[in-house]
Every structure is written in structure tokens, then in C-alpha cells.
Symmetry: C2
Subunit: 118 residues, 2 copies
DNA sequence: CATCGTTATTCTTAAATAGGTATAACGATT
DNA sequence: AATCGTTATACCTATTTAAGAATAACGATG
């Protein structure tokens, strides 16, 4: 048997995000961060769970909150537990919106790479 | 007239690329590079036209060629003009493939952000 | 009123990335 | 065999980016 020409297996890949006129608003990472904050009620714990530095987590949230007219996360310091952070109703809406968007995108990708004979 | 609640204008955005089992194969930038090489017949001129360093252009092509079983670009040095580079038939096929893929993606994005009331 | 863990912020360091410079190899053309 | 502009490659430097360390502010709770 002679050597057959191996077809190169190609796959469609990509990333999506949502922008405001001021630039990037949310992508996969930021949405995951919002979800973790919702889960733990804490920026620090959320960051820890994602192996992200608190510093970066705080900056991302600060950026999101300043771009959204209504804050997505409300935080408070001191008191029981040292402080806390909660995802607002707007924040939860955004999570839902992005997840739906991303699901459609993944389906789009899966459709595409079936036609990638090469 | 009281202050009306300004709706935040959101837009869907993203990037796509094609991968092999060894990692990223081509995206928008690499395809554009292939197109410029086809146009000029020279890696250096192609890089110049894209405001890309020759170094980076060469590395990108080297990476693509080593991932593809059949080279996408064939270069030669010396001779008339100092040397040259041509995009192979496989390379041209890949350009067509990616452009079609990307066009569908742009249409997908345009469809999505119509539903972004926020 | 001392403790606690978190939020909020600044400053310094390290790591990753990109870019520039330099130079050899090459072969048609003159 | 000298010239030319390009390919090919190594090496060094700067820029950007991310990470880490340190510290003040905070308020419920005991």
C-alpha cells in the first residue's frame, strides 16, 4: 500500500464578546467572573476560584460598572465577613444574554467546520 | 421633561480562526498576509504593505507551512529581484475558505446584536 | 474597642511579547 | 566576479502586560 495523502484536519474556532461605544464590555472571562461572584458573594473568592488575581478581578468589575449605566456588581466593605459583592438584576440579565449569544456561536462554529475538507 | 433612562447600545463582536491539532493555523492577519504575498510576490513587500516586520511575517509563514502538509508559500532567494515568494494552489484554496467562513461569521454577528436590548 | 476578612488602591517587579539590528546565503543579471 | 534585493536566521533591546506585595479603609460582631 502506497502512502496515502493525509487530509489535514481543520477546525473552526473563535471568540465573541459584547462591546459598548467605549470598547469591550463583556466576554467569556468576565461573564464567568460575574457568575462566580453571584455564587460566592465575594470578589476575592470569585477570583480565587478562577485562579485570577484579586487585582485583575477588581479592575474588570470596575471597568464593567463604569461602562454600564447601571452597575452590574455592587460591593461593600467592612461588616460581617469583611465585605461582600452581589450581582445586580442588570448583571444577571447580561449573563443570560451572553450565554445565549455564545451558545448560538458555538453552534455556528460546529456547523462551519464540517465543510473544511482540505 | 424628566431625564429618560438611556438604553446602553451593545454590539456583538468577535474573531474567528482555523486550527489544526497543533494549534492555530490561520486567522484574519495571516490570510491578509497570504493575499499580499500573492499580490507582490515578496514576503518583504507584503510585510511592508501591512506595516508588519519582515521577521514576524517570515515566522507566520514558517509556522503555517510547517502545520500544513503541503506548503502554502514557496520562497526562493537569490536571482532576479533578489528572491521571491509565491502562494501555492493550497494557499489560495485556504484564502477562499477563510474568506467564506469569515463572511458567514460577520453575517452571524449582524444578526445577533439586533436582539441586544439592554 | 479589638478582631476579622474583605474591599479598594498604590507601587514595585517579573514575565511575556514584540520589535529592531545585524549579517550570512543566495543566484540571476550585468 | 561584483552588484543587487531578497530570503533566512541569530541576537539583543524595548515595550507592553500581568503579577505580586503592601497597606489603608471599612463595619458587623463579640
Amino acid at each position: 500500500m502506497p502512502t496515502t495523502k493525509q487530509k489535514l484536519s481543520l477546525n473552526a474556532d473563535g471568540r465573541i464578546w459584547i462591546t459598548t461605544p467605549e470598547g469591550k464590555f463583556v466576554g467569556k472571562g468576565r461573564i464567568e467572573l460575574l457568575e462566580k461572584i453571584k455564587q460566592f458573594g465575594s470578589i476575592r473568592q470569585a477570583a480565587l476560584a478562577m485562579q485570577m488575581s484579586y487585582r485583575q478581578a477588581w479592575q474588570l468589575i470596575d471597568d464593567m460598572n463604569s461602562k454600564a449605566k447601571t452597575p452590574l456588581v455592587i460591593s461593600s466593605r467592612g461588616g460581617k465577613g469583611g465585605g461582600s459583592a452581589v450581582v445586580t438584576e442588570k448583571g444577571e440579565q447580561l449573563i443570560v444574554l451572553f450565554i445565549a449569544f455564545n451558545k448560538k456561536f458555538q453552534q455556528f462554529l460546529a456547523r462551519q467546520d464540517k465543510g473544511f475538507g482540505f
